[in-house]
Point group: C2
């Protein structure tokens, strides 16, 4: 199946928006072993869009159009598809019913702008939008299926479930492609590649190895295109486990916070957080996870020294003598969080997020982290000399990984963290 993407939107052309949707679409289609061969991005211009869609539809089996479903005059997708397919725009009853319901739920009155979103190419089929006002729609142009999807990523994400299920049915047989995704923390892409090359010089050609570096996690992807290659993939997987098993958080979409919460919930234990430089980010990462209340009850953002003392009981003399960014302070913060939060484990961080506040002794990027239980509390100092918000992300993820490792009796810290360790 020859698939092309048509991405629309002035904000994509001006650079105001980074297009993450096309990567999402490609990844989801990849689950069916369907590959996007070409993608064209143009602004909200009727002439340009018609030309592109007509050209694409003539040489493709499927075109996915993204964006331009909204209520404004810039949203042209329905009009373009109608013109290219040679059909009129009509008020679509299913789309209208969806809009009415969507507005009713929000106490909006259905205005003219919204109503435009029910005007769709005659004969099209509606693709449900479970969260947004604009439905998607599908219509064939000659032999090409054209699927029109919304530019809002959260809406696109849900609509892709429908599209993937739909395209699966159009395939001659079940796709043989099988993708195994592993989530890792604490590995760099180039060093991971080098370690694999060193340990497995004869990597089997039929097992495609891919990396997707994110901050803070990195995904490792093992793809085989025939069922008969599954045993070879399993051997590769075993080898990856041997090379960096303690860096593997889990399969699929595993996330550090969810893994930590699951490990705690299994044993009926809880974690408390005491945050200075990350300012609530660790608590926020934990509470993004549905059901987090089972293992997370209390977090303390003690940004000022006076609060570290009054709320967590950190001693004033230690604060005065050692400074807020010190081993003694993070240890007392962790113990205070366990006591006040009634928790079995705690993680505490205090550091210099920058851009100001650094010194020769404690430059910007320095952070003390304490983690563990009352009986087994660790504390180490690290330095990530990177911009403020990235620093906060790296510290928060690092702290969660340290707890994960302790809960699983794994080596104390990841390769990446041992590289930014300051105390030796």
């Amino acid at each position: 199946m020859r698939i092309q993407l048509l991405m629309t939107g002035n904000e994509l052309m001006s650079g105001d928006t980074v297009d993450s949707n096309s990567a999402l679409i490609s990844r989801r289609l990849g689950e069916l072993d369907l590959q996007v061969v070409r993608r064209v991005t143009v602004g909200d211009d009727t002439g340009l869009l018609q030309d592109e869609l007509r050209t694409m539809a003539a040489v493709s089996d499927c075109v996915v159009v993204n964006g331009g479903l909204g209520p404004t005059v810039d949203d042209l997708t329905a009009e373009i598809l109608a013109a290219v397919a040679g059909v009129p725009l009509e008020e679509h009853p299913e789309a209208l019913a969806h809009l009415e319901q969507w507005c009713a739920q929000r106490n909006y009155s259905l205005n003219a702008a919204n109503r435009k979103q029910a005007m769709l190419p005659a004969g099209c089929r509606v693709i449900p939008n479970p969260v947004g006002s604009a439905v998607g729609f599908e219509l064939s142009v000659g032999h090409c299926r054209v699927l029109c999807t919304p530019g809002v990523p959260s809406e696109l994400r849900l609509m892709l479930d429908w599209i993937v299920a739909e395209l699966r049915q159009a395939l001659p047989g079940p796709p043989e492609v099988s993708i195994q995704r592993l989530q890792t923390y604490g590995l760099g892409e180039s060093s991971a590649q080098q370690q694999i090359a060193d340990a497995v010089p004869q990597w089997p050609e039929e097992v495609e190895l891919g990396f997707r570096a994110g901050a803070p996690q990195m995904e490792v992807k093992l793809t085989v295109r025939r069922q008969q290659d599954l045993p070879a993939r399993q051997r590769c997987r075993d080898q990856l486990d041997a090379i960096f098993g303690d860096h593997i958080i889990g399969e699929g979409d595993s996330e550090l916070a969810a893994e930590v919460l699951a490990l705690l919930a299994e044993r009926g234990q809880t974690l408390a957080t005491a945050e200075s430089c990350t300012g609530g980010l660790i608590a926020s990462m934990l509470t993004r996870v549905p059901g987090s209340s089972r293992a997370f009850h209390a977090g303390f953002v003690t940004y000022a020294n006076a609060i570290k003392h009054s709320v967590l009981g950190v001693s004033e003399s230690v604060l005065a003598e050692q400074g807020a960014v010190s081993e003694a302070v993070v240890r007392e913060m962790a113990l205070g969080a366990m006591a006040r939060g009634g928790a079995d484990y705690a993680v505490a961080v205090s550091g210099v997020a920058g851009p100001d506040g650094g010194s020769d002794e404690k430059p910007v990027g320095t952070v003390w982290i304490a983690w563990g239980s009352r009986e087994n509390l660790h504390a180490h100092c690290f330095c990530w000399p990177i911009p403020r918000t990235l620093f906060q992300t790296m510290v928060a993820a690092g702290a969660l990984d340290l707890i994960r490792r302790q809960l699983l009796d794994l080596p104390l810290m990841s390769q990446s963290m041992s590289r930014v360790l300051v105390d030796a």
Copy 2:
């Protein structure tokens, strides 16, 4: 000047990499009022790349090619450009000198793979790469300038300085474009457009109006292309102020959290947070802002009822009788946060983030927010029936906007929030 982009790389087609380079290129060219009219993305395939480049060069004044300059067999850009221009590949002395120097600085020996990066289309001009091994290069195909740039973002970033300076010289005069960006909170894109259309039926054509909807903020952009249109833009700006001035957070990259912190810091006052369903997100949004410690000292994530009582002093009987998601509880949380955090203002939230935990009386998406000072404390109930993490984002931003409005003596809440208000 008609400009197109050709983005290359299998990783862009598979979705393993999100393409941020094209947004970067577009933004930098936008500084010169040069607009990219079309962008095509294809994998590392000689035939596809040649076809695209040939087609683009025939109808453009300038094509920027990104990616494919590296040392591997997948890196095809030099070969493609040579073929399309009808010239041979040659070892380019300047590129070779750069490679030799680059390797010498790193104690690498120049291997065959690296040496391939000096093989460039005959007659091309080298574009310096201050950080990487691969130089960029420029060659005309007919009347079209083709500029080939590296896929590594840090290398591209520096090379764009050279390219922007170069293109500036090709312009008849200095660029006249002037862009004003306003950050707003609490307006929907469609209702904002409708309100503008109603209030200013004769919007001047020379002032381009653009929207970039984000969650939770929306950017409004006013662009003029001639200096003489600046007064017209100022009139438009004044009209926008009149229509939804209290929804405008600020200009440029203003963010809610930064505005709230600046307002507090101006008066030497502080804010404390007490979060249940947002789980630290409000504190995290505040502490992402450099210098937030001036006005934010303490945050409490009181996820469990017992912690609401023990840490913030919420009365156990109120919790038992009214439930955690209630006016009485968020009021006591806010007062407790002010007392324990030694703060002048507080914001407290307690709600049902879902996916579980909803009831008929308090469905998923229900949240009570209390905000203000001891003397002037408000509390209202809202309902956003949306997925968990989006709910958390909307509640956190909403809470910050409520505080912003109180500090500025603006109407109690935004248009969007009054629409999701539950108590009347």
